[in-house]
Each structure stands twice: as C-alpha cells, then as structure tokens.
C-alpha cells in the first residue's frame, strides 16, 4: 500500500507543479460549461419582427402594440405591402413577419374570419418554428382576451402560419451545416496542423539547422505553410463536392467567390497557426492552444451549430473576433441565399483585415534566432 500511496502522491505533485496543464484542466471545463450553456439556447429572444399592415385600424394597432410590448420581439419595420418583405428577409433584417389582412377589425366585428399570416425565415428550421409559435401565441392570447371582453361574440382571428423556407426550400439541415463544416475542416488543417508542424521542428531540434542557414524567416514560414494552403483548398473542394453529390446541397451563388473567400479564410487560419506556434516549443502545448484558440470558438461561436442571436451579448460580441463566424456567414450567404459580393463585402473586409493583422503579427513573432 505504501508503494501505491507513494505513486499517487507523486502524480499529485506532477499535476500541481505543471502550471500549464493545470490551467487547462481547471479552466477548460469551466469555460466550456459557460460557453455551451449559453450558446445552446434554443429559446427565442429579441426576434426581429416586421409588420405588414396595409390598412391600419384599431385592431391591427392593438395587435402591433401587444407584439411590441413583449420583450420577445423587436419591431424593425412596418410596411404597407407584403412584397416589401423579401429584401428584409434577404438582408436578415427581419426574422419573422406578421401580415394583417386588410380591414381586419371590420371583419372581426362582422364575425367573419380574419386572417393573420405569420411568415418566418426558416433558414434555421428549429428556431423558425419556435418563432412562429410565439407570435401565434401572443396573437391568440390577445384574441381570447378580446372575445372574453366582448362576451364571446364575433369571429376569431385565424392564424395562417407560413414558414418560408425560402432560403432553405428543402428543409435540409445539412445545408446549414456545410458552411460550418468547411470552416471547421479548414481550421483543423490550417491552424492546428501549421502550429504542430512548426513546433515539431523545434522539438526535434531541426529548427536550429534551418535557422542557421541562409533561409530567411519568411521563406521558412512560407515553406512550411504553403502545403497546408494547398491542402486546405483541396479540403474545401472536397467538402463541397461531397455535400453536392451526397446531400445535394446547392451552391446558389458564385462558386468562384466561395473558393476565393475560402482561400481568404485559410490565410487567416494559417496566420493564427503561426502566431500560436511562435510562442510554444512543445507540440503538446501547441495542440492544446490550437484547440482552445481555434477549434472551440469555431464550433461554438461561429453560428455553425448554435445560432449566435440566441447568445447573451458578451458572447455575441466575442463571436465577432472569431474568424469562422464571418466565414460561415459568407459561405451561407453564397451557398444558400445566392448573395454576391455586393452584399458580402463588409464580412469579406473583416476577414481581409484579420488576415493582414495576423500575418503581420506572425511575421514579427517568427524569430531569426533561437530567442
């Protein structure tokens, strides 16, 4: 027993004295719980609501007031015509629309069925349905109260739900995952593999041999990193081909633009990989740093699986510095909505700036010498 106790105690010392591993072991679960807890919110909050009210009357105004009064919805536009909804949805300015039938109040008073159409952007099927139900619930509640107040006479409001899967007509969740999947694959290839490759040289001692040669740092960096650029690119094509052939996921927009943005994202990830490896000389640490610094944010905060709008504002704000978030938005736009550079230039600009900044930092952090 002595021996076993001695061994246990020794392991305890090892763990306590290895600061870095300790930090990861303790902080990682805490961080993960927070991130996962907050990001897996399938609740609906702060939904952007557009109203189509061709002929406002006391009933529609009352309904509009009721919808606005809940903290679930935020009325972003009130439009006279349903045809004006399309651009709002396309720009993602509105997620749900309520369309009132003309002369709603009159029909109600005369006991005729009065229809209210609820249109939701079902690019994300789960939340789309949830939003619809919420809107319906609010309207139905108001309706019940009205009838109770009026003694049960008159007609009722009929809710006509209309989930416009316009941006995802086949309701396939795989369509949604493909852009996120691309981001993840690229992150693994570009960031993690680059970081591992550079630190492996340091571990085997061969980095010394490279440094002492006439090779300039930028040559060494490009020499190590270019293969992963090529592999990443092939990875993008592979994912797209697979998605197309097996899951019939379309690319509605320009393929060339998609590949171009893919290249840009790879560049950002590569630079991140270099920055990570510049500070560490052990592969183990580089691996963990890459996991926490690139993979985790890509999976959790890019909108890949969990919608960003449902997260609390600190996380939403954090998501903005995750390159994958921008790429996923771009990829979804191109693939599922067919948007072009005209709409996507802000996101592209963000990625370009990220690429430039990270490349500059990585160039600076790559040492000409051993220290």
């Amino acid at each position: 027993m002595n021996a076993l106790r001695g061994l246990l105690r020794k392991e305890g010392y090892h763990i306590l004295r290895d600061r870095r591993t300790l930090m990861v072991l303790i902080l990682m679960p805490i961080v993960q719980v927070v991130l996962f807890g907050y990001s897996i919110r399938t609740d609906v909050t702060d939904v952007r609501l557009a109203i189509v009210d061709p002929a406002p009357d006391p009933v529609t105004l009352a309904l509009r007031g009721r919808l606005a009064a809940t903290n679930l919805f935020r009325t972003v536009a009130v439009l006279p015509r349903a045809s004006e909804l399309e651009p709002l949805f396309k720009r993602d300015a509105a997620q749900v629309a309520v369309v009132f039938e003309p002369r709603l109040g009159e029909r109600l008073a005369r006991g005729l069925p009065a229809r209210v159409q609820v249109i939701s952007d079902a690019t994300e099927p789960n939340t789309g349905v949830a939003r619809q139900s919420y809107v319906a619930a609010v309207i139905e509640a108001w309706d019940r109260e009205r009838r109770a107040a009026e003694g049960g006479r008159g007609g009722g409001i009929q809710i006509v739900p209309d989930s416009r899967m316009r941006f995802n007509p086949t309701r396939e969740s795989s369509n949604l995952f493909v852009p996120g999947l691309m981001a993840m694959v690229l992150t693994i290839i570009a960031s993690m593999m680059t970081a591992l490759s550079l630190t492996r040289e340091k571990e085997t001692g061969t980095m010394e041999g490279l440094l002492v040669s006439p090779l300039r740092p930028w040559q060494i960096v490009i020499g190590k990193v270019a293969p992963y650029l090529a592999i990443g690119f092939i990875g993008v094509i592979a994912v797209l081909a697979e998605a197309r052939l097996i899951f019939h996921v379309p690319v509605r927009g320009s393929l060339a633009l998609l590949l171009g943005e893919g290249l840009l994202y790879i560049l950002v990830s590569l630079a991140l990989g270099i920055v990570i490896s510049a500070r560490t000389s052990s592969q183990r640490v580089a691996m963990m740093a890459a996991l926490v610094g690139t993979m985790l944010p890509t999976v959790l905060l890019s909108g890949f699986i969990f919608p960003i709008e449902s997260m609390p504002w600190p996380l939403r704000w954090l998501a903005n510095i995750v390159p994958a978030k921008w790429f996923v938005a771009i990829a979804r736009g191109i693939m599922l909505e067919g948007t072009g550079i005209a709409y996507l230039w802000p996101e592209t600009l963000v990625l370009m700036v990220m690429a430039l900044v990270l490349l500059a930092v990585s160039a600076r952090s790559f040492n000409v010498r051993l220290e």
Partner: protein
C-alpha cells in the same frame, strides 16, 4: 590564466568577454579566446559548462548579453546573414529529419544553400561514400554512428569556410568516435577550420589546440601537450592489487596532495613541494606496505585530463575528492 594574446587578422574566430545569462543562471561568464584559421580546435568540458551556449552564439543563433564575437571577420550579431552562408553547424542531437531518408536529408540541406549533392560530391565523398549504401534508409533507423556521419555531411555540403560541431560524439560508441575524428583530421588537412566541443578527454589530444571550459569560463587554452605539461608537479602512478583499499589508505596518508583513479592505476601527487620525486615514491610505498597493501609507485607523465582535474579542483575546492 595567461592574458589573451592580441588577435591577428588571420584568426577565424575572435571572442571577447562573452556573457550570456538565462534567468538566474550564468551560462557564459566573460569568455575570451581566438581560433586561428585552419585549426582543429576543441572545447572540452562537462555538461553545463557553457559549450552549447557558446556555439549557438558563434553560429548566430543567440545574442550575447555582453561581449563581442567575430567569425571569419564578421560580427555574429550584425552580420548574421553573411555568416550563415559561410558556416557549417552541427548541433547536438544532430538535427536530422527522422522521417526523411539519408539522401533526402542531404538533398534538402544542399538545396537550402542553393547547391546540389552532385555539385558538392567531391567535397563530401569521404564521408558520404560510407552512407551511400543506405541512402534510402530513413534517418530515424540509422545507428548513432551513421547519424553522426550524415549530420556531418549535411553540415559540409555547402562548402563552409568554418565548421562548428557541438558534441558530435556524445553517446556514440568508442569505435565510431575514432572514425569520426579520423574524418575530422582528413577535413582539417584540406584547410577547413573546425571547432568541436566534446566531454571526452581522450579526444582532446586529437586537436591542434584546446580550451578547457567549466562553468562558463576557460580554465586553460593551449595545445594539448602544453596543457598536459603545465601540470606543474611530479605525478605518480600507484599500481596495486586492492585498488579501493589502496585508495582509502592514501586518503589517510598525511602527505597526500591529490589521489584519484586513473585507468588501471591511481594517480598521486605529494603535497610537499620540496621533496624529491624518488623519495616521495619510496615513502608512499612503505606507508602502504605498513598498511598491508603491496603497491608499486612510479613517476608518470601527466595527461591533459590530469591537468584538467588539477585546475578544476583549484577552481572549485568544495568539489575536490
């Protein structure tokens, strides 16, 4: 320690007051020396003496905290790109790519310097010819001696003007070590300046000049013969059957200056400076006989190791046996 003579323009390496610290540890403590062109120069010392740090500074991989160094006339800090074209460097652990073959390793290092194996074949032939039968074998599968030779070929393939070899023979068996030094002698004969570090004292005698290093400083710097001869006092070999018993007895002998095992015998110096050698030897023999130990005490020529031990003990009395 003698003052460093003035450097001449033909010196391949000139170092002045090199200091390097890592946190609270001082690796180099004001080292100064010169290496002449065409020399086979050895740095002899234990682990932690500062050899690797010194080599990294000379190979432009580290910047000293104080002091200067010039290699082939170039400053190691400001002229690093010019130097990197001209020096060959073999770091400890050989810095080979384990998953590349012999040939692929060599080809890589050749290409990095803008040349090819074919072009430099004559230069590296004596070494590479031994590796060629195995040129497709992965470097990880080579024995220590073979890795050594490959690393040397890679360091030579771009025809450097000076070669830095950091502990190239550590952990390699005695035969491979000998062969390696034969190769070095051969290269030196061709005019190449070679600077080697090693913990093996017997290799010191194969150098033109040697610097004994300990704790970041130089204890002695001269030809091996001169260092050995600088021992400064009579040295005796004590040969007896019960080596350990004899050792303990001599420890208790009042006139012992130093005693330590040395191969088959014990090396002994008498603490009394004035006693003639013959007398000191006889006295020791009779002392040992009185303890029941039969031993023969004869004068012997000091080697470089004896001098190193003497200098070390003087520098660090708390460590002396």
């Amino acid at each position: 320690m003698s003052a460093t003579p003035a450097a001449s323009p033909a010196d391949a390496v000139v170092a002045e007051g090199l200091v390097k610290r890592f946190g609270s540890t001082t690796a180099l403590d004001g080292m100064s020396f010169q290496v002449h062109a065409g020399e086979l120069f050895g740095f002899i010392g234990a682990d932690g003496a500062g050899k690797t740090t010194l080599f990294r500074i000379l190979a432009t991989l580290l910047v000293p905290d104080a002091g200067t160094a010039r290699v082939l006339g170039y400053d190691v800090v400001s002229d690093l790109w010019a130097l990197r074209q001209r020096i060959g460097y073999m770091p400890g652990r050989f810095a080979l790519y384990p998953d590349l073959s012999v040939e692929e390793n060599l080809r890589f290092f050749a290409s990095v310097f803008g040349t090819t194996i074919a072009r430099e074949y004559a230069q590296i032939a004596p070494i590479y010819s031994q590796l060629e039968p195995f040129k497709r074998r992965r470097a990880a599968a080579l024995s220590g001696g073979m890795k050594q030779k490959l690393a040397l070929s890679c360091a030579l393939v771009h025809r450097p003007d000076i070669l830095f070899l950091d502990e190239p023979t550590t952990g390699v068996d005695a035969v491979s070590r000998r062969e390696f030094w034969d190769l070095l002698a051969h290269l030196r004969a061709g005019g190449l300046t070679i600077i080697v570090s090693t913990p093996y004292m017997d290799e010191a005698s194969r150098c033109d000049r040697v610097a004994l290093v300990q704790r970041g400083g130089i204890l002695a710097i001269d030809t091996p013969a001169a260092i050995a001869a600088s021992f400064g006092r009579p040295l005796f070999a004590v040969r007896g059957s019960d080596r350990y018993g004899t050792l303990r007895a001599i420890r208790e002998y009042p006139n012992t200056g130093s005693v330590y095992p040395f191969g088959e015998v014990l090396h002994f110096t008498d603490a009394r400076a004035a006693t003639p050698p013959a007398g000191a030897a006889r006295e020791l023999e009779s002392y040992l006989a009185s303890r029941g130990l039969a031993a023969a005490v004869t004068p012997t020529e000091p080697t470089i190791e004896d001098t190193f031990i003497a200098r070390l003990s003087a520098a660090q009395p708390e460590q002396a046996a």
